[in-house]
Symmetry: C2
Subunit: 191 residues, 2 copies
DNA sequence: GACGTGGGCATACCGAGTATGCATACTCCG
DNA sequence: CGGAGTATGCATACTCGGTATGCCCACGTC
């Protein structure tokens, strides 16, 4: 859903054609999440089909097609900015799933999984701070996106510490659960 | 990619068929990211095609097909747990994109967007803490997933405060860009 | 001045993966 | 019989990355 709304927001600045939209999207987010070229066109087709954008007059001698917002499209953009991002639509968090499966799967060393991830996240965090010092002042949008990644990485590290403590505590509480083969314990195998 | 690896990790416990896999996945994550039933089967087909799982013997009188890990599949699971989640594969962050576009689009009141989002996130956070007190001790995996969501929401709020400060500072630096009411100010409708 | 070569712009298509929903079938149970 | 739960498969739509195609322009060369 974010591409759809992203393109609409960019069109709020005025009519654009596909290639321009891709370039401005990349510029706004500092190429953190580069937008695939082909995707822009299919998304534009869908937006036109749904009546949120329309071709801006002439197909252009060079074959370029500029799009502009319709009234419905304008309303959609305003509504997007006026409403918070729903927490329900959050995508699957791969790391959380991985840890959740690690603690419930026998024979997996959860502590080492946590430690591996922490060093990985720390490395990413250092890379981020390096980027931030380089391109600090000039581009506000790009800088905010970087900050978002930093805040998220820091939260991830805190969460990993938290997991380590809780897992260690649970392991100490009942050390007999060393390695249990689960083979037969499926829930409610009907016959 | 997370579904693929998730199913593999579940099969590490022993042979299962599709419906069971879905049920156990939902149980592990506390139905936070419910797994679509149809998706399990198509993913299993792809895994079988790629040689990571194999049908476990008989097609079963009731038509059920149980799958088990192959040696390649085992290796894949071990590799997944042994390597950190890559920061490059992070999905597009809708909120970050929204803010980045808000600050670069004329006629959008960034401060009100930030405040709307903050109240929304706070509400979600309260809901999470309520859930956490209810189902705290019994299920470690589900509890860790909840904590992950809490840590993330807190980081989001911190980031929103940070954004507010930076935007306010930037606005103070060049106050001619005051605040244009969003309703009528469609920028540059060319004709 | 003619040529062709390479690079940037712009659009379009393809294949694989992801996601959701619907149709089906079968069993158990009231 | 009809509804709920188990189990599988198909249809559809969107995402994503790569790639082909054409076009113009700048450059250098003969």
């Amino acid at each position: 859903m974010s591409i759809r709304h992203g393109l609409l927001a960019l069109l709020e600045r005025g009519p654009r054609h596909g290639y321009q939209l891709r370039a401005e999207f990349d510029a706004a987010t500092g190429a953190t999440w580069p937008l695939n070229v082909g995707q822009v066109y299919s998304t534009l087709d869908r937006l036109e089909r749904d009546g949120l954008v329309a071709q801006d007059g002439d197909p252009d001698p060079d074959g370029r097609i500029a799009y502009r917002l319709t009234d419905t499209g304008h309303a959609e953009v305003r509504g997007w900015f006026a409403s918070p991002v729903s927490p329900k639509g959050a995508p699957r968090d791969e790391l959380a799933i991985k840890l959740a499966l690690a603690v419930t799967t026998p024979g997996v060393d959860v502590l080492s999984v946590v430690q591996t991830q922490r060093t990985g996240t720390m490395t990413a965090l250092q890379e981020l701070t390096r980027l931030k010092t380089r391109a600090a002042g000039d581009d506000l949008a790009w800088s905010l996106v970087l900050d978002s990644l930093v805040f998220r990485a820091e939260a991830e590290i805190r969460w990993l510490d938290h997991c380590e403590a809780r897992v260690a505590r649970a392991a100490a509480a009942r050390p007999q659960n060393a390695v249990v083969p689960v083979s037969t314990t499926g829930p409610a195998v009907r016959r």
